[in-house]
């Protein structure tokens, strides 16, 4: 993880999300949660950021064999950017529907694959943008406002 501080206005965290080990999924989110707590952000903001990020992390592990996560803390918002080079999302509108999932039975047996990942990410953030190209990957940018 890399932490960069720019003139006290922005703090940036970067993580590699390991796509080979499903059991370690969530490490980046737990780390971010810890750092945001140290920054003194409100528990509700921390909860929203870490849940949205965890869902994104799980998606990257399930569908894209990992990727990169970046969290930027501004004075008025927290921005989460998740980038992967996985297969891409064929139909984003369909993927946004609660209950729609392409996860395998193995993933479901671990308690995931309920088709709640992307809907949860949207629910817990103030803004969410998805850019996905089939065969190239997906980038998701989410913002949680601090005020």
């Amino acid at each position: 993880m890399v932490t960069v501080r720019y003139m006290d206005k922005l703090i940036k965290f970067e993580f590699d999300v390991d796509g080979t080990d499903f059991t370690s999924a969530g490490q980046a989110s737990v780390n971010v949660k810890k750092h945001l707590r140290q920054l003194g952000l409100s528990p509700e903001v921390i909860r929203r950021v870490s849940i949205a990020m965890y869902e994104g992390e799980i998606n990257m592990v399930i569908h894209a064999k990992g990727g990169k996560a970046e969290v930027n803390v501004y004075e008025d918002r927290v921005e989460i950017i998740l980038r992967d080079t996985g297969p891409g999302i064929k139909d984003i509108n369909l993927a946004m529907q609660e209950g729609y999932s392409t996860a395998t039975d193995n993933v479901r047996s671990l308690g995931f694959g309920a088709g709640m990942g992307l809907p949860n990410m949207k629910r817990y953030t103030d803004n969410m943008e998805i850019e996905s190209v089939l065969g190239e990957g997906t980038t998701i940018k989410m913002t949680v406002n601090l005020n």
Binding site: F22, T23, A25, G26, S29, V30, K33, P43, E44, R47, S50, I51, Y54, E55, I58, L110, G111, F112, G113, A114, G115, M116, G117, P119, N120, R123, Y124
Partner: protein, 107 residues
């Protein structure tokens, strides 16, 4: 009700107690982790039969007061170690999920 009262009142086994004084403000039951992430509220007691390590990540991130494993489910040693290192309250109830929830609702 506090987490530390669950053992005495209901006989639940304490698998890992980090903060027994944590107040429980409600109950959420569910085994689909993403569903739980989206619906469980902060400081709820979360009742589930799932016991893999991802349960601990969900418990930590959704900030529940404790995880109660129903049906007498226990944690593997590795998962227990993770619960200890993450400081997550985990108990085991010998009763099914429904009965466990009813017991808490009457407390």
């Amino acid at each position: 009700m506090k987490v530390c009262e669950l053992k005495e009142k209901f006989g639940f086994a304490e698998l890992n107690i980090e903060d027994g004084q944590r107040e429980i403000n409600g109950v959420y039951c569910g085994d689909l982790l993403s569903w739980v992430m989206g619906r469980a509220k902060e400081s709820n007691a979360w009742i589930t039969i799932m016991s893999n390590v991802n349960v601990l990540a969900v418990a930590s991130l959704s900030d529940v007061a404790c995880v109660i494993l129903s049906e007498g489910v226990l944690l593997d040693d590795e998962v227990l170690k993770t619960a200890q290192s993450k400081g997550i309250n985990v108990l085991s109830s010998p009763y099914p999920t429904y009965e466990t929830a009813v017991m808490l609702s009457k407390a």
